[in-house]
C-alpha cells in the first residue's frame, strides 16, 4: 500500500507542476494578447481623436478642441482621452501623467504605450499620440485606459486553472488508488501470503496471480521455487522415512538378538542343572546304587532344582519389574541399611566397608525395595569382584554437573572389568563369574530398575585396580506432596 501511495503522491505532484506551468504560460500569453488589443484600440481611438482635435483647433480654436475632448470622455469612463503638452510644468492642467523623460520617443513622432500603476493600486494603459502645433511645440492626445477588466480576466483564468488542477489531482488519486489496489496491492498481498506459507514449511498450495507483468513473473518464480522446495522436502521426508524403517528393522533385529542371547543364556543356565537332575535320577532308577549313593544323588537333585528355581525367579524379576510404588526415600538411611544387610558376607570375606554420607539429608522418589535391590546388586557385584579382602566404598553426594541429581558411587578395589567385557556387563545372562556364582542377571536387573526411576548407571573401571559404579537419581525437592 505504501508503494502505491508513494507513486500516487509522485504522479500527483507531477500533474500539479505541469498544470501549473501550463496555466501560468497560457495566462501570460492571453494577458499579452489582451494588452496588445487594448493598446491598438487606444491608438486607433487616439489617432481619430487627434485628427478631429487638430481640425477643431485650426478652425475653431484651442478651447473648442479641448472641450470636445472633455465632452467625448463622458461617453466612456473607462477610456479617457485628454490633450497634453509634453513640456508642461508640474501643476499645469496639460501635463502628462508620466515623467517627461519616459516620453522621449514622442519627439520622433512615434506613438507610445505605457503601463502604469496609480497610487490606489489600479493599473492603467497610457497611450500617447504626438503632434506639433504651428509653433513647433510638442503635444498630443493621452488615452488612459483602465486595466481592471484585464485583471478580472486573469483572475478568472487562474480560478479555472486551479479547478482543473484540483479535478485532475482528485481523479488521479482515485484512479491510482483503485488501479494500485487491483494491479499491485492484491497480487503483492497474495505473493506475501504465499511466501509466508512457504516460509512456515507449507508447500502444498500453488499460486497463480495471472498476468505477464513483473509481479506475474515474480509469482511464477516463487511457484517454481515452491515446486523445487516441495520436491526437496518430499525427498527429505522419503529419506527420513527410509531411515526410520531401517532403524525399526535394526531394532527388530536387536530384539531378536536379545531374545537369542536370552535363550542361549537360559539354555546354558538351565541346561546344566537339568542334565545333572536327569543323570542323577537315572542313576537312582537303575537300583544299582548303595543307599548312601542314592541319598547323595537325591540331595543333589534337590539342590539343582533349587538352583533352577532361583534362576527362574531372577528371570521373572527381570521380566516383571514393572509394578513399582514410589515413595520418598531418605537415601542415607537406605545406604546404612544396605551396609547392615551386607555385614554377614563382608565379615566372612574380610571386606571393609566405608560409608561416606553428606551432612544434608537427601531424598529421592523411589520404590524402596527396588532401590535396595539395585544397591545390593551393585555392592554384591563389587564384593564378588574382590573375593577375599579389600575395601568397598559407598559415597553419597550431589552430581557435580547437575545439582538436581543425586549420585551414589560404589567403588571396589577388585579385579576390574576388561574393555572387551565393559559393553556387555548389563546384557542379561552375561557373566564373568564361575558357574553357579552368578546368573548374569544382577546388573541387568539393576539397570532396568534404575532406568524406571529416570536414573542411570555409569561405570569407571580399570582392570586389576577395581571398578566404580556411579548411580545417578533425580533428587526429590520435597515440595510437592503427591
Amino acid at each position: 500500500m505504501r508503494l502505491t501511495l508513494r507513486i500516487t503522491a509522485a504522479v500527483t505532484l507531477g500533474i500539479i507542476l505541469i498544470f501549473s506551468l501550463y496555466s501560468y504560460l497560457s495566462i501570460q500569453r492571453e494577458r499579452e494578447q489582451l494588452k496588445k488589443n487594448l493598446s491598438r484600440e487606444a491608438r486607433n481611438l487616439g489617432q481619430s481623436l487627434l485628427f478631429i482635435v487638430t481640425d477643431l483647433w485650426e478652425t475653431r480654436g484651442e478651447k473648442v478642441a479641448i472641450s470636445f475632448l472633455r465632452r467625448r470622455n463622458l461617453l466612456s469612463p473607462n477610456l479617457q482621452a485628454r490633450w497634453v503638452w509634453i513640456d508642461a510644468e508640474i501643476g499645469t492642467p496639460f501635463r502628462p501623467l508620466v515623467l517627461q523623460s519616459e516620453l522621449s520617443d514622442l519627439s520622433n513622432g512615434k506613438n507610445l504605450s505605457l503601463l502604469v500603476s496609480s497610487d490606489d493600486g489600479h493599473d492603467f494603459l497610457l497611450t500617447y499620440i504626438p503632434t506639433k502645433d504651428l509653433k513647433g511645440r510638442l503635444g498630443g492626445i493621452e488615452v488612459r485606459e483602465s486595466m481592471d477588466e484585464l485583471h478580472g480576466y486573469v483572475k478568472e483564468s487562474l480560478r479555472r486553472s486551479a479547478m482543473v488542477v484540483a479535478a485532475a489531482v482528485a481523479s488521479a488519486l482515485l484512479l491510482m488508488t483503485l488501479l494500485g489496489s487491483i494491479w499491485i496491492n492484491r497480487p503483492v498481498r497474495r505473493l506475501r501470503e504465499q511466501a509466508e506459507r512457504i516460509g512456515s514449511g507449507d508447500f502444498s498450495a500453488s499460486l497463480d496471480i495471472g498476468g505477464r507483468d513483473e509481479l506475474g513473473k515474480l509469482a511464477s518464480s516463487i511457484e517454481q521455487m515452491r515446486g523445487q522446495l516441495a520436491a526437496a522436502k518430499e525427498a527429505d521426508d522419503e529419506a527420513t522415512r527410509e531411515q526410520i524403517e531401517t532403524l525399526e528393522k535394526l531394532r527388530h533385529t536387536e530384539r531378536l538378538a536379545t531374545l537369542g542371547q536370552l535363550s542361549a543364556g537360559m539354555a546354558h543356565e538351565l541346561g546344566t542343572p537339568l542334565n545333572v537332575i536327569s543323570g542323577r535320577a537315572k542313576l537312582i532308577a537303575s537300583e544299582e546304587l548303595s543307599l548312601q549313593e542314592a541319598t547323595h544323588s537325591a540331595r543333589i537333585i534337590g539342590e539343582q532344582a533349587e538352583r533352577m528355581t532361583h534362576i527362574m525367579r531372577q528371570l521373572l524379576d527381570y521380566a516383571r519389574r514393572g509394578d513399582i510404588s514410589k515413595q520418598r526415600v531418605v537415601v542415607a538411611d537406605l545406604l546404612s541399611n544396605v551396609v547392615e544387610m551386607l555385614h554377614p558376607i563382608t565379615n566372612k570375606q574380610r571386606i571393609e566397608i566405608e560409608l561416606n554420607l553428606p551432612t544434608e539429608s537427601y531424598q529421592v522418589k523411589a520404590d524402596l525395595s527396588q532401590l535396595q535391590q539395585v544397591l545390593l546388586n551393585l555392592a554384591m557385584n563389587g564384593i564378588q569382584a574382590m573375593g577375599r579382602g579389600g575395601k568397598l566404598r559407598l559415597d553419597l553426594d550431589l552430581h557435580p554437573e547437575d545439582k538436581n541429581q543425586l549420585r551414589i558411587s560404589i567403588t571396589d578395589d577388585g579385579k576390574g572389568i576388561s574393555a572387551d567385557d565393559l559393553p556387555h556387563i548389563f546384557d542379561p545372562f552375561f557373566t564373568t563369574k564361575e558357574v553357579g556364582q552368578g546368573t548374569g542377571l544382577g546388573l541387568s536387573i539393576a539397570q532396568g530398575m534404575v532406568s524406571e526411576h529416570d536414573g542411570k548407571i555409569e561405570i569407571d573401571s580399570s582392570p586389576g585396580k577395581g571398578s566404580c559404579f556411579r548411580l545417578s537419581l533425580p533428587l526429590d525437592s520435597g515440595e510437592d506432596d503427591a
Binding site: H268, G271, E288
Partner: protein, 141 residues
Amino acid sequence: MNHLTPDNQRPPCVLIAEDDQALRELLSFAMNRAGFSVACCNNGKRLLEILENGIDDASTAVDIVITDLRMPALSGLEVLEALFDRPERPPIICMTAFGDAKTHQAAIRFGATHTIDKPFDIDEMIDLVRAVYNYKNSQKE
C-alpha cells in the same frame, strides 16, 4: 560290565573338563561305574596343561576327553584350537548348551570327535564314550 577291551592292564582313562561341580561329579561317578578311570578339571587352561604334561606324573595317558565348550580361563573351542595340529591328541567329545548348528560345526572343524547337546541322557553319554574308545582302539590295530 567289563566289555571294554583294555590294551594293557589298566582301565581306560577319561578326562572330564566341566566348570559345573554337580555335573562334573555326576559324569565322574557315572564313568567310574562304567569301568573307566576318571580325571577331572574345571577349566580349559587346566585341561590343556593336563593334555600337554599328562596327569600328575605323566604315567597315565588320557584315552578320551569330555569337555564343556563354555568354561572359564580357556573355552573348550580355544583348547581345541591349541590342540589342532597335534595328531597324537586323544578323541575329544564336546558338550554344549548353546545347541545351535554353528557351535557344533565350529567344534567339529577344530577337531572335536563328537558334539553333544546339554541336557543329555547319561547312558547315551556312556555309550558314546565307549563307542569312541572302541573306534580309537580299532584304528590302532
